[in-house]
Protein backbone atom coordinates (compact mmCIF):
# COMPACT_ATOMS: atom_id res chain seq x y z
CA UNK A 1 0.00 0.00 0.00
CA UNK A 2 1.56 3.29 -1.03
CA UNK A 3 1.47 6.47 1.02
CA UNK A 4 -1.56 7.91 -0.82
CA UNK A 5 -3.71 4.78 -0.32
CA UNK A 6 -2.72 4.66 3.32
CA UNK A 7 -3.75 8.27 3.94
CA UNK A 8 -7.10 7.66 2.18
CA UNK A 9 -7.87 4.63 4.33
CA UNK A 10 -6.87 6.53 7.50
CA UNK A 11 -9.21 9.34 6.41
CA UNK A 12 -12.05 6.85 5.88
CA UNK A 13 -11.48 5.34 9.31
CA UNK A 14 -11.58 8.80 10.94
CA UNK A 15 -14.81 9.70 9.09
CA UNK A 16 -16.44 6.43 10.12
CA UNK A 17 -15.31 6.99 13.71
CA UNK A 18 -17.07 10.41 13.64
CA UNK A 19 -20.18 8.70 12.26
CA UNK A 20 -19.99 6.06 15.01
CA UNK A 21 -19.74 8.80 17.66
CA UNK A 22 -22.78 10.51 16.09
CA UNK A 23 -24.67 7.24 16.25
CA UNK A 24 -23.71 6.88 19.91
CA UNK A 25 -24.99 10.44 20.54
CA UNK A 26 -28.35 9.48 19.04
CA UNK A 27 -28.54 6.45 21.35
CA UNK A 28 -27.73 8.72 24.34
CA UNK A 29 -30.49 11.14 23.27
CA UNK A 30 -33.05 8.34 22.89
CA UNK A 31 -32.13 6.86 26.29
CA UNK A 32 -32.38 10.28 27.93
CA UNK A 33 -35.77 10.96 26.33
CA UNK A 34 -37.09 7.60 27.45
CA UNK A 35 -35.92 8.17 31.01
CA UNK A 36 -37.55 11.62 31.17
CA UNK A 37 -40.82 11.04 29.36
CA UNK A 38 -43.86 12.81 30.86
CA UNK A 39 -45.60 10.56 33.34
CA UNK A 40 -42.38 8.78 34.34
CA UNK A 41 -40.64 11.81 35.75
CA UNK A 42 -41.12 12.51 39.44
CA UNK A 43 -44.03 14.87 39.71
CA UNK A 44 -43.59 18.05 41.66
CA UNK A 45 -45.44 18.20 44.91
CA UNK A 46 -48.71 19.95 44.25
CA UNK A 47 -49.54 22.71 46.66
CA UNK A 48 -52.42 22.16 49.02
CA UNK A 49 -55.88 22.87 47.66
CA UNK A 50 -57.51 26.12 48.68
CA UNK A 51 -59.53 26.75 51.83
CA UNK A 52 -62.65 24.66 52.36
CA UNK A 53 -65.68 26.19 50.77
CA UNK A 54 -69.16 25.20 49.76
CA UNK A 55 -69.78 23.68 46.34
CA UNK A 56 -73.06 25.48 45.69
CA UNK A 57 -72.43 29.06 44.70
CA UNK A 58 -74.24 31.50 42.50
CA UNK A 59 -71.86 31.52 39.58
CA UNK A 60 -74.61 31.91 36.97
CA UNK A 61 -75.01 35.54 37.97
CA UNK A 62 -71.56 36.27 36.79
CA UNK A 63 -70.61 38.28 33.71
CA UNK A 64 -68.73 35.68 31.66
CA UNK A 65 -66.92 37.94 29.27
CA UNK A 66 -63.53 36.36 29.95
CA UNK A 67 -61.49 38.82 31.98
CA UNK A 68 -62.24 39.48 35.62
CA UNK A 69 -65.11 41.93 35.88
CA UNK A 70 -64.49 45.57 36.69
CA UNK A 71 -65.46 45.11 40.27
CA UNK A 72 -62.94 42.91 42.02
CA UNK A 73 -65.62 41.60 44.34
CA UNK A 74 -67.62 38.89 42.64
CA UNK A 75 -71.18 38.06 43.72
CA UNK A 76 -70.31 34.80 45.40
CA UNK A 77 -67.21 36.19 47.07
CA UNK A 78 -69.50 38.20 49.35
CA UNK A 79 -71.31 35.07 50.46
CA UNK A 80 -70.44 33.61 53.83
CA UNK A 81 -69.39 30.03 53.12
CA UNK A 82 -69.79 27.29 55.65
CA UNK A 83 -67.15 24.62 56.20
CA UNK A 84 -67.51 21.56 54.01
CA UNK A 85 -70.93 22.56 52.71
Amino acid sequence: MDHKDKSISVKKIILQAVLAISLALIVVELTDNLANQPGQETSKQSPEPSKPQIQEHQIKDRDTCGEKSASDTLPWEETEFTEGG
Partner: protein, 389 residues
Protein backbone atom coordinates in the same frame (compact mmCIF):
# COMPACT_ATOMS: atom_id res chain seq x y z
CA UNK B 1 -24.01 -11.74 -1.89
CA UNK B 2 -25.97 -11.72 -5.17
CA UNK B 3 -28.43 -8.78 -5.53
CA UNK B 4 -31.40 -11.13 -6.06
CA UNK B 5 -30.61 -13.07 -2.89
CA UNK B 6 -30.06 -9.84 -0.95
CA UNK B 7 -33.44 -8.45 -2.08
CA UNK B 8 -35.16 -11.65 -1.00
CA UNK B 9 -33.61 -11.45 2.48
CA UNK B 10 -34.57 -7.76 2.70
CA UNK B 11 -38.17 -8.64 1.82
CA UNK B 12 -38.44 -11.21 4.63
CA UNK B 13 -36.82 -8.81 7.07
CA UNK B 14 -39.28 -6.09 6.02
CA UNK B 15 -42.20 -8.42 6.78
CA UNK B 16 -40.72 -9.37 10.16
CA UNK B 17 -40.15 -5.69 11.00
CA UNK B 18 -43.77 -4.92 10.11
CA UNK B 19 -45.07 -7.74 12.29
CA UNK B 20 -43.07 -6.50 15.30
CA UNK B 21 -44.30 -2.93 14.71
CA UNK B 22 -47.92 -4.13 14.68
CA UNK B 23 -47.36 -5.94 18.01
CA UNK B 24 -45.75 -2.78 19.48
CA UNK B 25 -48.70 -0.70 18.24
CA UNK B 26 -51.19 -3.00 19.95
CA UNK B 27 -49.19 -3.15 23.21
CA UNK B 28 -48.74 0.62 23.18
CA UNK B 29 -52.44 1.25 22.78
CA UNK B 30 -53.29 -0.90 25.78
CA UNK B 31 -50.55 0.66 27.91
CA UNK B 32 -51.71 4.17 26.98
CA UNK B 33 -55.29 3.58 28.11
CA UNK B 34 -54.08 2.28 31.50
CA UNK B 35 -51.70 5.21 31.97
CA UNK B 36 -54.26 8.04 32.06
CA UNK B 37 -55.46 7.58 35.67
CA UNK B 38 -51.93 6.70 36.87
CA UNK B 39 -50.69 10.12 35.77
CA UNK B 40 -53.33 11.91 37.83
CA UNK B 41 -52.50 9.95 40.99
CA UNK B 42 -48.83 10.80 40.42
CA UNK B 43 -49.61 14.51 40.56
CA UNK B 44 -52.04 14.08 43.46
CA UNK B 45 -50.75 11.07 45.39
CA UNK B 46 -53.18 8.89 47.37
CA UNK B 47 -51.15 9.42 50.53
CA UNK B 48 -51.93 13.16 50.54
CA UNK B 49 -55.20 13.56 48.67
CA UNK B 50 -58.61 11.99 48.23
CA UNK B 51 -59.96 12.14 44.70
CA UNK B 52 -63.73 11.70 44.58
CA UNK B 53 -65.10 11.29 41.04
CA UNK B 54 -67.78 13.86 40.17
CA UNK B 55 -68.38 12.61 36.65
CA UNK B 56 -66.47 12.06 33.44
CA UNK B 57 -62.88 13.26 34.02
CA UNK B 58 -63.87 15.52 36.94
CA UNK B 59 -62.96 15.03 40.59
CA UNK B 60 -63.33 16.66 43.95
CA UNK B 61 -59.88 16.94 45.50
CA UNK B 62 -59.57 16.92 49.27
CA UNK B 63 -56.37 17.14 51.28
CA UNK B 64 -56.08 14.25 53.77
CA UNK B 65 -54.41 16.24 56.50
CA UNK B 66 -56.38 19.44 55.97
CA UNK B 67 -59.98 20.13 55.12
CA UNK B 68 -59.03 22.00 51.95
CA UNK B 69 -60.74 21.06 48.74
CA UNK B 70 -60.68 21.89 45.05
CA UNK B 71 -62.03 20.66 41.74
CA UNK B 72 -59.92 18.79 39.23
CA UNK B 73 -60.83 18.17 35.62
CA UNK B 74 -58.80 16.92 32.70
CA UNK B 75 -58.74 18.07 29.10
CA UNK B 76 -56.97 16.91 25.99
CA UNK B 77 -55.90 18.69 22.80
CA UNK B 78 -53.66 17.94 19.84
CA UNK B 79 -50.14 19.26 20.02
CA UNK B 80 -47.31 18.98 17.51
CA UNK B 81 -46.87 15.23 17.79
CA UNK B 82 -49.99 13.95 19.48
CA UNK B 83 -52.42 14.62 22.29
CA UNK B 84 -51.49 16.65 25.34
CA UNK B 85 -53.54 15.93 28.43
CA UNK B 86 -53.67 18.37 31.31
CA UNK B 87 -55.26 18.29 34.76
CA UNK B 88 -56.58 21.68 35.80
CA UNK B 89 -57.23 22.42 39.44
CA UNK B 90 -59.91 25.00 40.23
CA UNK B 91 -60.59 26.62 43.57
CA UNK B 92 -64.04 27.15 45.03
CA UNK B 93 -64.52 30.23 42.83
CA UNK B 94 -63.57 28.17 39.79
CA UNK B 95 -60.37 30.12 39.40
CA UNK B 96 -57.47 28.06 38.09
CA UNK B 97 -54.99 27.13 40.81
CA UNK B 98 -52.64 25.16 38.60
CA UNK B 99 -52.36 23.24 35.36
CA UNK B 100 -50.35 20.00 35.28
CA UNK B 101 -49.34 18.21 32.11
CA UNK B 102 -50.39 14.58 32.63
CA UNK B 103 -49.22 13.20 29.33
CA UNK B 104 -47.69 14.63 26.18
CA UNK B 105 -46.25 13.24 22.99
CA UNK B 106 -44.20 16.28 22.07
CA UNK B 107 -40.53 16.28 21.18
CA UNK B 108 -38.91 16.21 24.66
CA UNK B 109 -36.63 19.23 24.13
CA UNK B 110 -39.64 21.40 23.17
CA UNK B 111 -41.73 20.18 26.09
CA UNK B 112 -38.83 20.84 28.48
CA UNK B 113 -38.59 24.36 27.12
CA UNK B 114 -42.30 24.97 27.79
CA UNK B 115 -41.94 23.58 31.32
CA UNK B 116 -38.78 25.55 32.06
CA UNK B 117 -40.48 28.78 31.00
CA UNK B 118 -43.40 27.89 33.33
CA UNK B 119 -45.96 28.41 30.57
CA UNK B 120 -48.67 26.69 32.62
CA UNK B 121 -48.05 29.31 35.32
CA UNK B 122 -49.71 31.90 33.06
CA UNK B 123 -53.08 30.20 33.67
CA UNK B 124 -52.81 30.58 37.44
CA UNK B 125 -55.60 32.59 39.07
CA UNK B 126 -57.51 32.98 35.76
CA UNK B 127 -61.29 32.49 35.95
CA UNK B 128 -62.73 29.31 34.40
CA UNK B 129 -64.20 31.22 31.45
CA UNK B 130 -61.05 33.13 30.56
CA UNK B 131 -60.03 33.04 26.90
CA UNK B 132 -57.22 30.46 27.27
CA UNK B 133 -56.16 30.60 23.62
CA UNK B 134 -55.39 34.29 24.14
CA UNK B 135 -52.81 33.22 26.73
CA UNK B 136 -51.22 30.95 24.12
CA UNK B 137 -51.12 33.83 21.66
CA UNK B 138 -49.47 36.26 24.05
CA UNK B 139 -47.33 34.01 26.26
CA UNK B 140 -46.38 31.18 23.87
CA UNK B 141 -42.83 29.95 24.25
CA UNK B 142 -40.87 30.77 21.11
CA UNK B 143 -40.46 27.71 18.88
CA UNK B 144 -43.08 25.71 20.80
CA UNK B 145 -46.23 27.59 19.74
CA UNK B 146 -48.15 24.43 18.85
CA UNK B 147 -47.39 22.84 22.20
CA UNK B 148 -48.48 26.01 24.04
CA UNK B 149 -51.67 26.33 21.98
CA UNK B 150 -52.50 22.68 22.70
CA UNK B 151 -51.97 23.21 26.46
CA UNK B 152 -54.27 26.26 26.31
CA UNK B 153 -56.93 24.32 24.38
CA UNK B 154 -56.69 21.36 26.76
CA UNK B 155 -57.07 23.74 29.74
CA UNK B 156 -60.14 25.26 28.10
CA UNK B 157 -61.58 21.79 27.54
CA UNK B 158 -61.05 20.99 31.20
CA UNK B 159 -62.92 24.23 32.07
CA UNK B 160 -65.77 23.21 29.75
CA UNK B 161 -65.89 19.81 31.47
CA UNK B 162 -66.05 21.18 34.97
CA UNK B 163 -68.76 23.70 34.06
CA UNK B 164 -70.83 20.92 32.51
CA UNK B 165 -70.35 18.86 35.65
CA UNK B 166 -71.35 21.60 38.05
CA UNK B 167 -74.76 22.32 36.61
CA UNK B 168 -75.19 25.55 38.54
CA UNK B 169 -72.32 27.11 36.57
CA UNK B 170 -72.79 28.78 33.21
CA UNK B 171 -71.47 26.36 30.59
CA UNK B 172 -68.73 27.49 28.20
CA UNK B 173 -69.31 26.71 24.55
CA UNK B 174 -66.39 25.09 22.64
CA UNK B 175 -64.73 27.08 19.83
CA UNK B 176 -65.32 26.15 16.20
CA UNK B 177 -61.99 25.39 14.48
CA UNK B 178 -61.20 27.22 11.23
CA UNK B 179 -59.48 25.66 8.20
CA UNK B 180 -55.99 27.07 7.53
CA UNK B 181 -54.64 26.85 3.99
CA UNK B 182 -52.02 29.42 3.13
CA UNK B 183 -48.51 30.09 1.90
CA UNK B 184 -46.96 27.09 3.68
CA UNK B 185 -49.32 24.60 2.06
CA UNK B 186 -48.95 26.24 -1.37
CA UNK B 187 -45.15 26.10 -1.04
CA UNK B 188 -45.24 22.35 -0.32
CA UNK B 189 -47.45 21.64 -3.35
CA UNK B 190 -45.20 23.76 -5.60
CA UNK B 191 -42.01 22.10 -4.32
CA UNK B 192 -43.42 18.62 -4.95
CA UNK B 193 -44.54 19.66 -8.44
CA UNK B 194 -41.09 21.08 -9.25
CA UNK B 195 -39.51 17.95 -7.75
CA UNK B 196 -41.53 15.80 -10.14
CA UNK B 197 -40.73 17.99 -13.16
CA UNK B 198 -37.07 17.12 -12.49
CA UNK B 199 -37.83 13.47 -13.33
CA UNK B 200 -39.32 14.27 -16.74
CA UNK B 201 -37.05 12.45 -19.22
CA UNK B 202 -36.49 15.34 -21.66
CA UNK B 203 -36.32 18.19 -19.21
CA UNK B 204 -33.19 20.24 -19.96
CA UNK B 205 -32.64 22.37 -16.84
CA UNK B 206 -32.43 19.63 -14.23
CA UNK B 207 -29.41 21.04 -12.43
CA UNK B 208 -30.88 24.55 -12.20
CA UNK B 209 -34.27 23.24 -11.06
CA UNK B 210 -32.64 21.10 -8.39
CA UNK B 211 -30.78 24.06 -6.93
CA UNK B 212 -33.98 26.13 -7.00
CA UNK B 213 -35.93 23.45 -5.08
CA UNK B 214 -33.03 22.84 -2.68
CA UNK B 215 -32.56 26.52 -1.81
CA UNK B 216 -36.34 27.10 -1.57
CA UNK B 217 -36.65 24.04 0.68
CA UNK B 218 -33.86 25.29 2.93
CA UNK B 219 -35.19 28.84 3.15
CA UNK B 220 -38.94 28.17 3.29
CA UNK B 221 -39.42 24.68 4.79
CA UNK B 222 -36.32 25.07 6.97
CA UNK B 223 -35.86 28.58 8.27
CA UNK B 224 -39.24 30.26 7.67
CA UNK B 225 -41.89 27.58 8.23
CA UNK B 226 -39.78 25.07 10.20
CA UNK B 227 -41.73 22.24 8.60
CA UNK B 228 -39.48 19.48 7.30
CA UNK B 229 -40.70 15.87 7.45
CA UNK B 230 -39.63 14.49 10.80
CA UNK B 231 -39.87 11.10 12.43
CA UNK B 232 -42.47 12.62 14.77
CA UNK B 233 -44.84 13.19 11.80
CA UNK B 234 -44.45 9.55 10.73
CA UNK B 235 -44.81 8.22 14.30
CA UNK B 236 -47.91 10.37 14.92
CA UNK B 237 -49.70 8.98 11.90
CA UNK B 238 -48.65 5.39 12.67
CA UNK B 239 -49.78 5.75 16.29
CA UNK B 240 -53.15 7.07 15.17
CA UNK B 241 -52.62 10.64 16.38
CA UNK B 242 -53.63 12.24 13.12
CA UNK B 243 -52.86 15.96 12.85
CA UNK B 244 -55.81 18.34 13.02
CA UNK B 245 -56.89 18.71 9.39
CA UNK B 246 -58.18 22.22 10.05
CA UNK B 247 -54.84 23.65 11.11
CA UNK B 248 -52.22 21.18 9.87
CA UNK B 249 -53.03 20.54 6.22
CA UNK B 250 -49.29 20.98 5.50
CA UNK B 251 -48.48 17.80 7.47
CA UNK B 252 -50.95 15.81 5.34
CA UNK B 253 -49.54 17.35 2.16
CA UNK B 254 -45.97 16.50 3.16
CA UNK B 255 -46.54 12.91 4.30
CA UNK B 256 -49.27 11.81 1.91
CA UNK B 257 -47.85 13.80 -1.01
CA UNK B 258 -44.55 11.95 -0.64
CA UNK B 259 -46.34 8.63 -0.08
CA UNK B 260 -48.40 9.09 -3.24
CA UNK B 261 -45.33 9.95 -5.34
CA UNK B 262 -43.36 7.03 -3.87
CA UNK B 263 -46.11 4.50 -4.52
CA UNK B 264 -46.95 5.65 -8.02
CA UNK B 265 -43.54 6.54 -9.44
CA UNK B 266 -41.02 5.00 -7.02
CA UNK B 267 -39.22 8.39 -6.91
CA UNK B 268 -38.36 10.34 -3.79
CA UNK B 269 -38.23 14.03 -4.71
CA UNK B 270 -38.40 15.10 -1.08
CA UNK B 271 -35.09 13.66 0.14
CA UNK B 272 -33.12 14.52 -2.96
CA UNK B 273 -34.55 17.94 -3.94
CA UNK B 274 -36.64 19.44 -1.15
CA UNK B 275 -35.42 18.42 2.34
CA UNK B 276 -34.00 21.58 3.99
CA UNK B 277 -31.30 19.74 5.93
CA UNK B 278 -30.31 17.81 2.82
CA UNK B 279 -29.97 21.17 1.06
CA UNK B 280 -27.85 22.54 3.90
CA UNK B 281 -25.51 19.54 3.66
CA UNK B 282 -25.21 19.86 -0.11
CA UNK B 283 -24.33 23.53 0.15
CA UNK B 284 -21.71 22.78 2.79
CA UNK B 285 -20.46 19.94 0.61
CA UNK B 286 -19.98 22.39 -2.27
CA UNK B 287 -17.86 24.57 -0.01
CA UNK B 288 -15.64 21.69 1.14
CA UNK B 289 -15.75 19.72 -2.15
CA UNK B 290 -17.34 16.76 -0.36
CA UNK B 291 -17.26 13.29 -1.91
CA UNK B 292 -19.36 10.19 -1.24
CA UNK B 293 -17.89 7.99 1.48
CA UNK B 294 -17.02 4.74 -0.26
CA UNK B 295 -16.38 2.07 2.30
CA UNK B 296 -16.47 -1.70 2.41
CA UNK B 297 -18.77 -1.45 5.44
CA UNK B 298 -21.47 0.37 3.45
CA UNK B 299 -24.11 -2.30 4.11
CA UNK B 300 -23.27 -2.30 7.80
CA UNK B 301 -23.98 1.47 7.86
CA UNK B 302 -27.20 1.08 5.87
CA UNK B 303 -28.45 -1.58 8.27
CA UNK B 304 -27.42 0.46 11.32
CA UNK B 305 -29.41 3.40 9.92
CA UNK B 306 -32.42 1.19 9.22
CA UNK B 307 -32.24 -0.55 12.61
CA UNK B 308 -32.05 2.77 14.43
CA UNK B 309 -35.07 4.16 12.57
CA UNK B 310 -37.03 0.94 13.16
CA UNK B 311 -36.12 0.97 16.86
CA UNK B 312 -37.21 4.62 17.15
CA UNK B 313 -40.61 3.88 15.55
CA UNK B 314 -40.97 0.82 17.78
CA UNK B 315 -40.32 2.92 20.91
CA UNK B 316 -42.82 5.57 19.74
CA UNK B 317 -45.54 2.99 19.12
CA UNK B 318 -44.89 1.02 22.31
CA UNK B 319 -44.92 4.16 24.49
CA UNK B 320 -47.65 5.85 22.41
CA UNK B 321 -45.41 8.90 22.31
CA UNK B 322 -44.51 9.99 18.76
CA UNK B 323 -42.06 12.69 19.82
CA UNK B 324 -40.05 10.67 22.29
CA UNK B 325 -37.86 8.83 19.83
CA UNK B 326 -37.34 11.54 17.24
CA UNK B 327 -33.63 12.10 16.81
CA UNK B 328 -33.59 14.40 13.79
CA UNK B 329 -31.34 17.45 14.08
CA UNK B 330 -33.79 19.79 12.32
CA UNK B 331 -34.92 21.48 15.54
CA UNK B 332 -31.32 22.29 16.41
CA UNK B 333 -30.54 23.45 12.86
CA UNK B 334 -33.60 25.59 12.10
CA UNK B 335 -35.15 26.56 15.43
CA UNK B 336 -32.16 26.37 17.76
CA UNK B 337 -34.30 24.22 20.04
CA UNK B 338 -32.77 20.92 21.06
CA UNK B 339 -30.84 19.20 23.80
CA UNK B 340 -27.05 19.69 24.15
CA UNK B 341 -26.52 16.21 22.67
CA UNK B 342 -28.43 17.18 19.53
CA UNK B 343 -26.41 20.37 19.14
CA UNK B 344 -23.17 18.33 19.35
CA UNK B 345 -24.64 15.94 16.77
CA UNK B 346 -25.55 18.88 14.52
CA UNK B 347 -21.99 20.23 14.86
CA UNK B 348 -20.48 16.89 13.87
CA UNK B 349 -22.85 16.65 10.87
CA UNK B 350 -21.94 20.16 9.70
CA UNK B 351 -18.21 19.34 9.87
CA UNK B 352 -18.70 15.95 8.17
CA UNK B 353 -20.79 17.57 5.42
CA UNK B 354 -17.73 19.54 4.35
CA UNK B 355 -15.90 16.32 3.41
CA UNK B 356 -18.60 13.65 2.98
CA UNK B 357 -21.59 13.96 0.63
CA UNK B 358 -24.79 14.23 2.73
CA UNK B 359 -23.57 12.24 5.77
CA UNK B 360 -26.84 12.70 7.69
CA UNK B 361 -29.03 11.53 4.79
CA UNK B 362 -26.81 8.59 3.87
CA UNK B 363 -25.94 7.25 7.31
CA UNK B 364 -28.23 8.52 10.07
CA UNK B 365 -31.51 10.14 8.93
CA UNK B 366 -34.59 8.08 9.96
CA UNK B 367 -36.76 9.39 7.09
CA UNK B 368 -34.73 7.71 4.36
CA UNK B 369 -35.10 4.15 5.76
CA UNK B 370 -38.87 4.78 5.95
CA UNK B 371 -39.00 5.81 2.29
CA UNK B 372 -36.77 2.84 1.36
CA UNK B 373 -39.15 0.58 3.27
CA UNK B 374 -42.17 1.93 1.37
CA UNK B 375 -40.24 1.47 -1.88
CA UNK B 376 -39.53 -2.19 -0.97
CA UNK B 377 -43.28 -2.82 -0.66
CA UNK B 378 -43.98 -0.81 -3.79
CA UNK B 379 -41.44 -2.77 -5.84
CA UNK B 380 -42.75 -6.10 -4.56
CA UNK B 381 -46.49 -5.47 -4.65
CA UNK B 382 -47.35 -2.46 -6.83
CA UNK B 383 -44.62 -2.41 -9.51
CA UNK B 384 -45.40 -5.88 -10.97
CA UNK B 385 -49.08 -4.92 -11.04
CA UNK B 386 -48.34 -1.63 -12.90
CA UNK B 387 -46.06 -3.37 -15.39
CA UNK B 388 -48.49 -6.30 -15.75
CA UNK B 389 -51.34 -4.00 -16.72
Amino acid sequence: MKPHKRKQIEWYMALLALLILVIAWWAGRKNWEDKQMDSLTKVYPDSLYDLTPLGESCWLLEGKETENRAYISTGKAKGYAGPIQVATRFNHLLRIEDVNILSASETPSYLRRVKNKDFTGSFRDRPYDYNMTQIAETNAVSGATKTCTAIARATRKSSIRITRQLDHVETITPEEPTVRFGAKETTIILLFLLGMIYYLPHFKYKKLLRWITLSSGLLLLGFIYNSPITLTHINSILAGFWPDWHTEIYAYLLIFGLLLILLTSGKNPYCSHICPFGAMQEMLGRLGKAKPLKTRAVYLWIWLQRSLAWMAILIALATRNPGISDYVVFGAAFQLTASHVMFILLGSMIILSLVVHRPWCNFLCPVRPVTDYIKTFRNKLIKPWIHGS
